[in-house]
């Protein structure tokens, strides 16, 4: 197990440097001069430009710039944006908002997804099963922003049940955006639970457990469900990263000031340090969660360790 964990950890190193370098290079290649953009139409003294370019290493070639940046990141320094604000500060302000949003989305998709999948698998071929199948396909098909506006219009404006936008109302204002953000993943969880539970319910060990005289509830809950959760755990791990990416759109629709909005604004303003800083954090979060999932997976299923 330790060797397996070590190998997986080593595999992450090139992915980390590669992905951050790619984003850095993309931002580097954007047309326009970020320093001049900072001043808008106003004339700027050349000396100020050269001081700023010097300070942000803008005249170095790409590999050198990236090297300086990434060595800072490895020392825990995300640098500062072109207005002199610490990127770490921006992240610290925005991240809790997105975390709350993804937290609600996560709980929502886990609880409802499990329930829907369970019901569908236990009553295969029934009306409820078809309902789950059709509705999950429909939810997957509706783009998040269409779903968001529809939810805003119906639940927020027509019914007036939940706050429509912003985060002034505290926790309740996160509920609607959180549910919209988690809706697609909820559909995936439901289908995954349904498929793997339906397959496991036909397995020999389930017949054995039933033949031993265990109650239906115990057979399903202890024997079938546990084994069916392995693929669900995998999905949920990679899904954390997907949710944070999806937050870019959801936060835009619901006017939630999280990291998604911060990234979007920063790309528009060519604030390369902010974009690269947040993306780097997202990539790290994505990698760590997929690593944890892989390790859990290896614990749950010993066959993988010896691969």
């Amino acid at each position: 197990m330790r060797r397996y964990a070590g190998r997986r950890l080593l595999q992450l190193v090139p992915v980390f440097f590669g992905a951050t370098f790619l984003i850095y290079a993309m931002m580097f290649a954007l047309p326009g001069d970020p320093i001049r953009a900072l001043f808008g139409e106003r004339p700027i003294p050349e000396s100020a430009v050269s001081i700023l370019r010097e300070r942000y290493h803008l005249d170095d070639p790409l590999p050198v710039q990236y090297g300086k940046y990434i060595s800072g990141v490895l020392r825990g320094d995300l640098g500062e944006d072109f207005r002199g604000r610490e990127v770490a500060q921006i992240v610290a302000e925005r991240f809790p908002v997105t975390l709350r949003l993804t937290g609600i989305a996560f709980v929502f998709e886990l609880v409802l997804g499990l329930l829907a999948g369970l019901v569908a698998a236990l009553r295969r071929g029934s009306f409820l099963d078809s309902l789950v199948l059709v509705s999950t396909t429909a939810v997957i098909s509706i783009p998040v922003f269409v779903l968001g506006y529809t939810a805003q219009l119906v639940v927020g404006v027509e019914l007036g049940w939940l706050p429509v936008a912003g985060i002034r109302d505290g926790w309740p204002s996160y509920v609607l955006p959180g549910m919209v953000l988690g809706a697609t993943s909820l559909a995936y969880v439901a289908r995954l639970v349904r498929a793997s539970l339906a397959e496991n319910l036909r397995a020999d060990y389930i017949r054995t457990a039933t033949a031993k005289g265990l109650s239906r509830r115990r057979v399903v809950g202890r024997h079938a469900l546990r084994n069916s959760l392995i693929p669900v755990v995998t999905f949920l791990g990679t899904d954390l990263g997907t949710l944070m990416g999806g937050a870019i759109i959801t936060e835009g629709v619901f006017n939630v000031p999280g990291i998604g909005r911060a990234i979007f604004d920063a790309v528009g303003q060519q604030e390369n340090p902010v974009v690269v800083g947040i993306v780097t954090l997202l990539v790290i979060a994505f990698m760590v969660s997929s690593l944890i999932v892989d390790l859990c997976y290896a614990l749950l299923d010993p066959r993988i360790r010896y691969d």
Partner: protein, 283 residues
């Protein structure tokens, strides 16, 4: 006697699947609309009258009403199909080509080539699609169908390549491949005649679903203001315009949203039906 093969079995299975029938009819309809929108409406998409029809509600002859420029919305929504379908198909063709070539070479030869291809794929895979799309598209001054499809291809191939690689990997170890090699078949022939036909099924399934994903991604990026630009006619642009008038003119959201979702739905459902048909375990 006819040859029994996977494609034939799959076809027999497909014909009886209601998912296939529903999605097939829908896709056919959307593609016909995309090819010849003028068959379904007598009005031209740029034939607009701001003074007469600004935000007009649905009325006889104009079932979807009018948009913010006084254009017939039904016509505009129909013409939007071509944009979405083109981007979806172009993206899938591009990503499938990269995946087929890269995945075959990587899975068949293994060794150093495989390690390099897998690592590069992992790196690209770690970049979230919408995020990468925002950054890449910001770099382009002119963003038409080709540019958006190119960016989506650049971000979409890793998932498909992984799929192709693992399919080739398992097909390459089969006995019939060894048999073909013992008979003196060259690498290219083995790959083309023996491995590809047996490894292509999961890729076809994912490619079908991916058409829907690409269409959805285009709409999302355009909606964010960094995808297609006017005067292009696209559901993403229509939804972006609907954003500001959500309360006063909800029909602006409803119709393109409906068409967009139905298009994505039909491709995802078709992928589902294909998966049912190609996966013998489910029979």
């Amino acid at each position: 006697m006819t040859e029994a093969n996977l494609a034939r079995d799959a076809w027999l299975e497909l014909r009886r699947n209601p998912k296939f029938l529903v999605s097939g009819v829908l896709i056919l309809l959307i593609v016909v609309i995309a090819i010849a929108p003028q068959r379904f409406t007598s009005i031209l998409p740029y034939d607009c009258s701001l003074s007469e029809h600004f935000l007009g509600r649905p009325s006889p002859g104009h079932p979807f009403g009018f948009d913010t420029l006084g254009c017939d919305y039904y016509t505009r929504v129909l013409y939007g199909a071509r944009t979405s379908v083109s981007i979806g198909l172009l993206t899938v063709i591009g990503a499938t080509l990269i995946a087929a070539v890269g995945g075959s070479i990587s899975g068949y030869y293994g060794g150093v080539i495989d390690t390099v291809v897998t690592r590069v794929t992992d790196v690209w895979f770690a970049i979230p699609t919408i995020l990468g799309g925002i950054v890449l598209l910001s770099a382009l001054r002119r963003r038409g169908i080709g540019e958006v499809a190119l960016v989506l291809t650049a971000l979409g191939w890793p998932a498909m390549l992984r799929l192709m690689r693992s399919a080739v990997l398992s097909a390459a170890q089969a006995d019939y491949v060894n048999a073909a090699r013992a008979l003196g078949a060259g690498d290219l022939r083995i790959m083309r005649r023996h491995i590809l036909p047996n490894a292509i099924a999961p890729v076809v399934v994912y490619a079908t679903i991916f058409v829907g994903i690409a269409i959805s991604a285009e709409a999302a990026l355009t909606f964010l203001g960094i995808g297609l630009q006017p005067p292009a006619i696209s559901w993403g642009l229509q939804l972006e315009a609907a954003e500001d008038r959500l309360l006063t003119a909800p029909h602006l959201l409803l119709f393109p949203g409906l068409f967009l979702s139905a298009t994505i739905f039909s491709f995802i459902l078709m992928g589902d039906a294909l998966r049912d048909a190609f996966d013998p375990k489910l029979r």
